[in-house]
């Protein structure tokens, strides 16, 4: 879909922003370009829609050199979203969104009808259609920016640090929105960010840049965390990459124990009989709290368990849906050091100890490593860490 062939951008002062870049963005996938400031990621992005022209090499969009196309026409077929939103302050939300359809010669009424469809698509209320950008929150403006980029249904979407200017909660919801949109629309997305978390969350593929426009590693997010090619990549990905990689591992294969699970209306004697160090009280299948065995020992055997003071369960994980990272986190935060697994209805399925979690992690890791080919450094000449 998008192919960079030996693309170099050199400025008149001799600065090399992008250095002989080869890159294929597969159709329908989200490719994230990530790296430190000055690594050439934004320059690379802007060369796709010719906001910047390369010095050498060429960029093909559907096998056609972008430089052989009329820039205005080329750009109308490529959605573009930027950090500062770049919304037109003098146009209402619907007219902002309708920009490219109107440029393509649609009648205004039809373009506005399309704009309203897009408002819904990006999760905004119809009531915002006649507002001006200054009347919107930062997050809403950014959603309008995405809607505007999608208005003419372009196959390609370029996003330049699209979520960097909003607070973390809004950012997370915008990222979720993008992931949801992608499962529906399958655009070819190139997204630039300096935030490796964002890259790992939204990317199908991540190209991690070194300074001065070379790719250090191009891989799936899971491989980037699991098998960084060198110290530079490992350093950029972060010291807790092992934990973060667990986000990609399923809890479906985790072996859960029901031994410590006892109904709250049972007696202390029944709980003591399990011989477990911690008892999970459940009521109608829902987790109530953890009780340590030594606390049970102080109670008469016929005391209802419900009357024994319990420790909070904290958060649970949904078996098969949540990742091993969520399960491990639940175990870490639990007084009992065990993660409580529930089904989609919140009913307890079983609990997992650290040992069981470790076994599941090792099984998933060896499966993932076996499935992937050994990674090749994207540029073998300069493997030294930066």
């Amino acid at each position: 879909m998008i192919r960079f062939e030996r693309v170099t951008k050199r400025y008149p002062d001799g600065t090399v922003a992008v250095d002989a870049l080869d890159l294929d963005v597969p159709p329908g996938k989200t490719m994230v370009l990530v790296g430190p400031s000055g690594c050439g990621k934004t320059t690379s992005l802007r060369m796709i829609n010719r906001l910047i022209e390369p010095t050498e090499g060429r960029i093909l969009l559907d096998d056609e050199d972008v430089r052989e196309q009329n820039p205005a026409h080329l750009r109308r077929g490529i959605g573009y979203v930027i950090q500062q939103t770049g919304l037109f302050p003098h146009r209402t939300v619907e007219d902002n969104i309708a920009t490219v359809p109107v440029l393509n010669g649609w009648r205004r009424a039809k373009a506005r009808a399309r704009a309203r469809e897009l408002l819904t698509l990006v999760g905004l209320e119809q009531g915002l259609a006649r507002r001006y950008p200054y009347q919107l929150s930062g997050g809403q403006q950014q959603r309008v920016g995405v809607a505007r980029a999608l208005a003419a249904d372009p196959p390609v979407l370029l996003m330049d640090e699209p979520f960097s200017a909003v607070d973390p909660i809004v950012r997370a919801s915008l990222q979720d929105q993008l992931i949801a949109l992608q499962t529906e629309l399958h655009k070819t997305v190139v997204l630039v960010t300096h935030d490796i978390e964002e890259a790992i969350k939204v990317g199908d593929l991540v190209a991690l840049f070194r300074p001065h426009g070379k790719i250090a590693q191009l891989d799936t997010p899971e491989r980037l965390l699991g098998a960084p090619v060198d110290d530079y990549v490992a350093g950029f990905v972060g010291f807790d990459r092992g934990i973060r990689r667990l986000s990609f591992f399923s809890t479906a294969g985790l072996s859960l124990s029901t031994g410590p699970v006892v109904a709250a209306d049972a007696t202390v004697a029944k709980a003591t009989a399990t011989d477990e160090p911690w008892i999970l009280l459940v009521n109608g299948g829902k987790p109530l709290g953890w009780v340590p065995a030594d606390r049970l020992a102080q109670q008469a055997g016929d005391t209802p368990l419900r009357q024994v003071p319990a420790e909070a369960v904290g958060h649970t994980f949904t078996v098969g849906t949540d990742s091993l990272r969520a399960a491990l986190d639940a175990a870490v935060l639990s007084a009992a050091g065990q993660a409580v697994g529930v089904d989609g209805n919140g009913q307890v399925v079983g609990v997992a100890t650290f040992d069981k979690l470790r076994e599941a992690v090792q099984a998933e890791q060896s499966a993932a490593d076996a499935a992937a080919e050994p990674p090749a450094p994207a540029d073998s000449q300069s493997g030294a860490p930066a």
């Binding site: 205005a72 750009r75 109308r76 930027i82 950090q83 939103t85 440029l103």
Partner: protein, 210 residues
């Protein structure tokens, strides 16, 4: 202050008022019409900016009466003479605002417009000029008020304006027409300014009301 002077000279006062409004408003609008293309050029090609703004300051320093006298050989003792002189003065205050207004368009908006597929001319007309309207209107307001006021100087080369009342009052040592002229000039200026504020509001419903 002889109040009875006003009704007995009503027809004269009304005629002078209309002439003054005509000269002031037309001059300012011509100043705007010339400022727009010059401002667009100055905003786009930076090298044009320092000489243009220097020239504008120099022109603005010329005394109004001197400029009108200098224009007599070419334009005679006519309305045109006064309008040309005042248009030049209002150009001096409007042009810098056109440049500032266009330069003030956020880079992100300009870049987004380009990336949406606007060509340079369309982007100018559909995005940059509309966004420069508040700043340009600020310049036009100052230009119009000063044109309305300076139009009275035209009386010195025989062009009929409310300036007649000042000369008349001075020559006869009779202050009433001078007071009437001053009040009318201020009233016209305030009225035109309010009209321009209204026009600006109509053109820019998208500006946040503070």
């Amino acid at each position: 202050m002889i109040w009875s002077w006003i009704p007995s000279n009503g027809a004269l006062i009304w005629q002078l008022t209309r002439e003054n409004i005509y000269i002031g408003v037309v001059s300012a609008l011509i100043g705007l019409a010339i400022s727009l293309p010059l401002g667009i050029v100055a905003a786009r090609w930076r090298w044009f900016n320092p000489p243009a703004l220097t020239a504008v300051s120099l022109i603005y320093a010329i005394p109004a009466i001197a400029l009108m006298i200098a224009l007599i050989p070419a334009l005679g003792l006519t309305d045109t003479n006064v309008i040309v002189a005042l248009a030049l003065f209002s150009l001096c205050v409007i042009l810098p605002n056109v440049v500032a207004g266009l330069r003030g368009v956020p880079a992100s908006v300009r870049q987004a417009a380009t990336a949406m597929g606007y060509g340079p001319l369309r982007r100018l007309v559909m995005v940059e000029l509309p966004l420069a309207v508040p700043v340009i209107m600020g310049g036009l307001r100052v230009g119009m008020v000063s044109s309305i006021s300076l139009a009275t100087v035209g009386q010195l080369i025989g062009v009929s304006t409310l300036g007649y009342l000042f000369i008349d009052g001075l020559q006869r040592s009779f202050p009433t027409p001078i007071y009437v002229g001053m009040v009318l000039i201020i009233a016209i200026a305030v009225g035109c300014d309010l009209v321009l504020v209204g026009v600006r509001r109509l053109l820019t419903p998208w500006v946040a009301r503070s």
